[in-house]
Symmetry: C2
Amino acid sequence: MAGNLKRALLGNPLHNREAAHQRLSNPVALAVFSSDALSSVAYATQEILIVLALAGTAFLQLTLPVSIAIGVLLIVVVLSYRQTIKAYPGGGGAYIVARENLGTMPGLIAGAALLVDYILTVAVSISASVAAITSALPELSPYRVPMAVFFVILLAIANLRGVKESGALFAGPTFAFVGLLGFTVVVGLFRFITGDPFVVPPPAEPIEAVQAFTLFLLLKAFASGCAAMTGVEAIANGVQAFRQPEAKNAAKTLTWMAGILLFLFMGLSTLAVLAKVQPSEAETVISQISRAIFGTGWMYGIISASVAVILVLAANTAYADFPRLASFVAEDDFLPHQLKDRGYRLVFSNGIVVLTAAAIALLVAFGGVTTRLIPLYAIGVFTSFTLSQTGMVIHHLREKEPHWQLGLAINAFGGATTMVVGIVIATAKFADGAWIVLLLIPTIVAGFLWIRRQYDRARGNFKLTPDELTDLNWQAYNRMHNHVIVLVKDIDRRLVGALRYAKNLKADVVEAVFVDISGDGPEMRRRWEEAGVGIRLHVIESPYREIIPVILDYVRSIPRPSKDHVVTVIMPEYAAENPADQALHDQTSFWLKVQLFGEPGVILTDVPYRLEDVSKPQPGKA
Amino acid sequence: MAGNLKRALLGNPLHNREAAHQRLSNPVALAVFSSDALSSVAYATQEILIVLALAGTAFLQLTLPVSIAIGVLLIVVVLSYRQTIKAYPGGGGAYIVARENLGTMPGLIAGAALLVDYILTVAVSISASVAAITSALPELSPYRVPMAVFFVILLAIANLRGVKESGALFAGPTFAFVGLLGFTVVVGLFRFITGDPFVVPPPAEPIEAVQAFTLFLLLKAFASGCAAMTGVEAIANGVQAFRQPEAKNAAKTLTWMAGILLFLFMGLSTLAVLAKVQPSEAETVISQISRAIFGTGWMYGIISASVAVILVLAANTAYADFPRLASFVAEDDFLPHQLKDRGYRLVFSNGIVVLTAAAIALLVAFGGVTTRLIPLYAIGVFTSFTLSQTGMVIHHLREKEPHWQLGLAINAFGGATTMVVGIVIATAKFADGAWIVLLLIPTIVAGFLWIRRQYDRARGNFKLTPDELTDLNWQAYNRMHNHVIVLVKDIDRRLVGALRYAKNLKADVVEAVFVDISGDGPEMRRRWEEAGVGIRLHVIESPYREIIPVILDYVRSIPRPSKDHVVTVIMPEYAAENPADQALHDQTSFWLKVQLFGEPGVILTDVPYRLEDVSKPQPGKA
């Protein structure tokens, strides 16, 4: 039944040989990897306006130079990532670039920053989208958290089905968003060019200057606008999902994405300045502009819906990228190996599940209102930009490929700029919650190192010495000394198979053990003799009614002078047909196994007993 | 560490021989078993007033005759329960009486009704108490649910420590409540007798008649007032907790409790009528009366606090009773046997845990506002009253003990009355939620019957036939045919112990099995040959990357023509030092055990491998 459900939700399993086919065409890859970056135009211009408005409406015009600066920065970052793609066609983005060129620690910092970012991306985008829906339909407001969780689960299922299917699901809405917003920008600019300008009416609450204009304020506006750049690294991380030649296709798609992003972002910022848009609590900038151009009609409705949908899809970028990055990190032993297993449908299922759980936890913890987290995730993005580009600087100096001087200049400039921006964001937003990220990243890095240490230790330990390798061949060993214990609860059918099995083992001692918690030990001994079982019954009194500690003590008390001595604990267990029935029978064996597991030289053997066993013929009996 | 925490919270374990000492003196038993019943005077009069007020303030005077009728009913029920205690000194109340005299189904219905009631008692009393606290200290209002959960956990710990200790904890507050409320009643009545009457000022919102006075309204008022009677059965269910002679002490304590309850309830109802109290949303009747007598001073504060405390303790009655009743029901195989185990401190720990979990679930689900549930639990109480007293009628007719005619009359009258009241409550409150209880009880009864069926089936099946009993003696059997499989993940140290163990078993076949999920099968085979392991390696290809289903299929494919043929699956498992490290290693063995468990003729053997094993000397090696 569980299998059928799985199949219905996820489709049929995919064969290993289908791996190469699970690649994306460029347009589909554009939809899958760029919804995060593209969706940020929905709020980037607004973030700049909000900061500048602190100094008064007169300074709103500075939005244009700030946007141009961000646009230039975007071009620099994209050019840098094109080189990264060429240099690292295997993908991996900032983590791999920083690790290879700068060393382990910078790589891990980049990895931690990105993983945190992907989780934040899911939580923030989904809750922003739900907020968009609930502000249109306020009666849904009480169901904010369930709606958000529902969307996350939907995304998880789509991604568990596989990257190609999820691409097909998401391509339409992404292109619709690009088309609708592009149309808005073109129509708006056309009206100004053709001498038919429009002005957005100022909001009901007039904006008052609350502080003097400073250079720091301008930097803050720039930093806030950099929210536009979250998500541009996605393609460089996901090169492997492209069709062959992967690097070339990925670079081409990255350029397309940057072009679209630049056009939409610059267009909206220009329109905002031309139409004298003022930021408002009640209405987003994008909504003000589109309403001014098209009126409050069906076109406006479609654009609003499209914004809500693209925000859900932005979360999908993280779904395309988090599991892949986690698999790279796990490959290097810094995360549990389960994260590198490809599941049933060839996707990194465990990574998808972890991302889903973390995002749902964030959404529930914050009651579905995570917009406050938006500024936080810029920190992670710029940390990874900086590390990635600094890594590329080292790469150029080392490899000296053709035109390396240009690349060096681009990457050095990009690295320096993104570092400054990162520091500005961290400083400006420190009290607002940036400290959380600044605390979280080192914690995660410490976790990575701990995991790696565990794996190193285990691996070193698992390795056979030449001596031991020889020992694998039986002849080198003494005969094993086996002390076999059969746990007895009652003299009934459950015991029969276990006793037979015990008597069939090569052993020095075979004995039965009964724990007397209510004074019925002598009676059990009498019945044991009467049944003529033929092996010794050891009765342990336990007046404090404890079973497991008493058995543990007894097992530990059996001398095991060398590795040739083992104790085999045989547990006759009732195997019910269903979990409900199983729960009715005592769980002592289960807890005993948990406690005894790993006790040196103790072997645990379950001999299950099923009701069905009885009704079957027993042809083998003499 | 877990053990130390347990000891700190619950005290040292108690020896079986201390069982007889865990008995209660009569005053302590009064505190433990009657807080539920006594706390109901905090709202019973008010419930009557609320219903009568629907017909207008003129009808509020009818509170007195209604209270007298309830008082008479209480006397009848208590007289009946005194006889039950004498007839059933073993305790068990309605469940045992109904089961013995009326048959299994009535007994189970009574049992289900009572178990549901105890859970409701905990949830309702705790949330009412929290409501009392938060209405005094509104700033605590947002922490309603955590506070309620905290109180429930506190009660659970007190009760896990043992019944005597929890008695000592609760005696003081119960007696304080009785003393304070008794004093209030005496002072109030004294003022009317000595010609110093007082009138409670009517509430701000005047009461308007919203319906005509009808006989049904009077019955509803009576039914609502019957909330005063919840909890009176507790003593009859708990006879075994009293000191010897148990029955006599329990009967005496029941009479004391009934006397106190009657005095407080009748006194408060009389004062309410004399002082012309009108029910109000804003203030409870008990608060109105005590404030009118003592003014809004420290005495009023102490009385209010005492009411809040007694409501927490009312929940404790359920803690004294639910686990005991559950153990009786489990004794008869209608509930899981785990419920009849006495824990560490001789109390029915599992019952306490189940009650706690259920109550917390209710509190969380209802957001800590469960006052709406108050009327519901009267249904369960009256169902069990009716069944218990009807059972006593049959008992009298059968046993014909001295004075049986009087007993018969009392029980017949009581049974008939409580049945009528039960039907009235169920009818009047059906739409308000009584339907939930009326649906829940049959569901639980069905559950009881299912559990019993499982146990009957298992017991019948576990029983050895004389043939099989003979077979326990080894000589009667053929040699077992054992096909041993060692699961191989890699050729490393984890494998060494498992291989040695496998080679030491008496077996027809010993082979190693490797599942190839990524095409490395040939490489593994080469290394296997090179290592010279000496047993055959069976490689299974799994291009869909599934491990467990592939092993399951293989194990199932091994022919087991008779019960003399078994397959032993040996799993080399890495036993980490801590759960965090364990989680880093793959969980395949665990899930494989879950899936293979109960497969006929398949024996599961864990050979754990620990890192420590290596550092230890290996003196036994030749």
